[in-house]
Amino acid sequence: MSTATPTAPVTIDTTRPGVPFARLLKVEFRKMFDTRASRWLAISTGILLVLVTAIVLLVVGLNDNARVSASDWYLGVMVSVLSLLLPVFAILSVTGEWGQRSHLTLFTLEPRRARVVTAKLVAVTSFALLLLVLAFALSAVGNVIGAAVGGYDAVWNYDLSEILWTVVAQLAYFWMAFGLGALVLSTPIAIVIFYVVGLLLPFMVYAPLVSIFEWARDIVPFIDINYAITEPMTGQDFVGNTVDVGALEYLRVLSPVVIWSVIPLVLGYLRIMRDEVK
């Protein structure tokens, strides 16, 4: 403004650089943690983590025979707790804008909507990976403390396959959360669908089906990521028999990922590109 004279024609500079992706990413990462909702989500998860760890240590301390290995700490304690509430971050990252209507500002500052959504997806993905690293570190600490409290030698039985398949499953869950959010653009609806599909169905429906019916063991891995990764990860089926893991078992992992992560993501992208922002 300082150089403009009163009647100077106002022109738009189309040659100046646009908003670089790295800046969008930085902003989207920051936005995941700067609201009251996100703070309480983090605090709740922290409290849950402390509670669960305390219970495990209590059991280890009181029961002479109880042993908790590094792998148990990682999968059974840390990953389970951290992945329970934190996918909501992925949902809020996209639905929060529509719920609060801040997407009006969002898309006036960067009209190329696909870049904004991609920045959000990358931010959510990096967050999920950071969490897994944190879960791993905490499991090692838990293992040392558990051994000290229980008076046994720590069991370091980390398994690379287990760790990698956990990463695959967790990323699938975070993308599912994000994809559902982008598709329905409503926080409560996305949260309900996510927990029904990701938590309720596996425990309340798939588990009894698989334990009772032979056919369910063939079908459920096609629709649930945790069942899909079980055989490639452990080399055993759901009832504990050793199985030959072949191409089918690996390819089968793609099925729930496509159904619950890829399809909602693609449809969600299309919806955000096309929808009127108002």
Binding site: M1, S2, A4, T5, P6, T7, A8, P9, V10, T11, I12, D13, T14, T15, R16, P17, G18, V19, P20, R23, L24, K26, V27, R30, K31, D34, T35, R36, A37, S38, G96, E97, Q100, R101, S102, L104, T105, F107, T108, L109, E110, P111, R112, E276, V277, K278
Partner: protein, 303 residues
Amino acid sequence: MITVENLSKTYGQFRAVDDISFTCRPGAVTGFLGPNGAGKSTTMRIIAGLTLPDRGTATVGGVDYRDIPNPGTQVGVLLDASAQHAGRTGREILTLSALTMGLPMSRVDEMLELVSLTPSESKRRVKNYSLGMRQRLGIANALIGDPKILVLDEPANGLDPAGIHWMRSLLRTYADRGGTVLLSSHLLHEIEIIADEIMVIGQGRIVASGTKAELLQGAGAFVQATDNTALTVALEQSGLAVTTSREGLLVEAEPVQIGKVAAAAGIALVELRPADSAGLEDMFLQLTATTQRDGAVTPGGPA
């Protein structure tokens, strides 16, 4: 420079914007005046590239908004002051915009100072802001990138009279430096105070436009006499159109003509002046009467 040409947008059967054309020139504050639902916000969303028009074009400085690189540094947009994440602090919202545009963080403090939000207010969450404070934050957010063009939807809504005058001087200075401003309001007195050029919009169409003086030209003069009835007769005999307005008469003539008629008829005048705000208000109500939802014209209504 904002140019809108033959813009139309229909939602189902509802014509929100109906073949609108106008330009906003640099150095002036252009006011968009119309009742709620007249199509002001839809037009502004189309200008900002958030809504696609069915027909017509809207360009900013000759460019489609969506083709402007880093648009926040070239066009400042405030479409809804309440459309901010209620769980963030005011300072955080400005910080996010500054980060996106690649501005130094000092801009955040400069803007907070410009819109008179105190440091303690800026650290409160937007949920606890009054509408007036949200408007100030929204103005700060629109200005933070130092743009040359401003698009503001109902920016004075929720401001107290002092706030409206503050906004007038802010936008006046901005336009005097060569900036282009398009703002909207459903309240006549806000537009009257703030805008240089006024476009009156009703049912998606521009029903009148021009400078305040131009719009008032057709509004005639306001006159009050000791005997209004006698004056009415005298004026009508001279072939002038007269309507009753509050305590006096609205006459479609220049004040000097009326004075002459009154003097010739020997009628004492109490008041005689160009019909300014009262006239514009009558005009606004008249122009939008056919297009307003309730249809009722309230004399001396919302001002």
